[in-house]
Symmetry: C2
Subunit: 190 residues, 2 copies
């Protein structure tokens, strides 16, 4: 469904009647598609971590275990993890309907701590942010710097536009975020 809906979306400049959740799934869908492409093209191994579930009750139906009670646990890490040219990648995809800024309430304290740890141990943590129908790679370092220096509850769009790396829509993969990641690592190495 998401798949079929998608092509209309990039053509339209503004999509007013989509919900936050729907749009979140769309970005996620495109990232999953990019990951499939990266794996099949032997570029990288990147995958979405399963959602952490607390299993409370399991029944057996024809010998197979069926979960009949479970709860969603809060994530303490980010959504995606992967390996690219020997580098450890850890990132989250975030969508905001907000046009002027990205609310930091989207990111939990645990996740900030996780991002700091990843950077400390030589990995790469970042966010892929969709704002104003544009997609940006925003590095964990930028995020940590921003949250530590600035006590604001959101990152202004101008800030993301200036310091983030825009991921232009392309063809196969539509969201070629590793291209932006290459720019990021070139910048960081320089």
């Amino acid at each position: 469904m998401i798949n079929l809906l998608y092509p209309n979306k990039i053509k339209k400049e503004k999509v007013s009647n989509t919900t936050y959740a729907n749009r979140g799934m769309d970005l996620e869908y495109l990232i999953n598609e990019a990951n499939k492409y990266y794996l099949e093209s032997d570029i990288a191994v990147i995958y979405k971590k399963p959602t952490p579930i607390q299993i409370n009750k399991v029944n057996f139906e024809s010998g197979k275990p069926i979960i009949t009670k479970g709860k969603f646990n809060q994530k303490s890490t980010l959504d995606y993890v992967g390996l690219y040219k020997g580098m450890y990648l850890d990132f989250d995809a975030k969508v905001t309907k907000n046009k002027t800024s990205f609310p930091l309430s989207n990111i939990h304290e645990h996740q900030i701590k996780h991002i700091k740890n990843i950077i400390k141990h030589g990995g790469y943590a970042f966010l892929i942010i969709e704002i104003n129908h544009e997609v940006y790679l925003f590095s964990g370092k930028l995020l940590i710097d921003f949250t530590e220096k600035d006590k604001r509850k959101s990152i202004p769009y101008e800030y993301i536009n200036k310091y983030g790396i825009e991921i232009k829509y392309g063809y196969n993969p539509i969201i070629d975020y590793l291209k932006a990641f290459n720019e990021l690592t070139n910048k960081e190495d320089a």
Copy 2:
């Protein structure tokens, strides 16, 4: 419960009445404890991936989502992922009651493919195998070599003992598998 049961276990030379599943959980418990230690001591960030669940039905109780029907999906990757000194680690913990060999039916075709991909892209894949009350780090490279050269359905204990790196039980963490991993990378670099 696992926690409380554990101390009796390492004291005993042979534990005959424990089931495969129980012992599997024990090794898992010790690896999780090691990971906690590595995180708290600022050594590495390594965690168990959540079990992939297919959610079929969700109800809401007092506004909170409760899974009322779900299935366990087959894993295509390994159980643990992490970052250590800039290196990407991906591994599984396996326990066998079998004294003479480690049955390869424990490892799915998808997982073999995943291990190959990890190695190809500059990461480190391995197994932590418990056999005969001994614990070994057995590298993905060894596993791939063995499965490709030998068409046997299990790895003989002698082979694991000869080529694997034994993880001796210690104190905090009891299973200090990164020590064995250091040996592995020194070997592989040499």
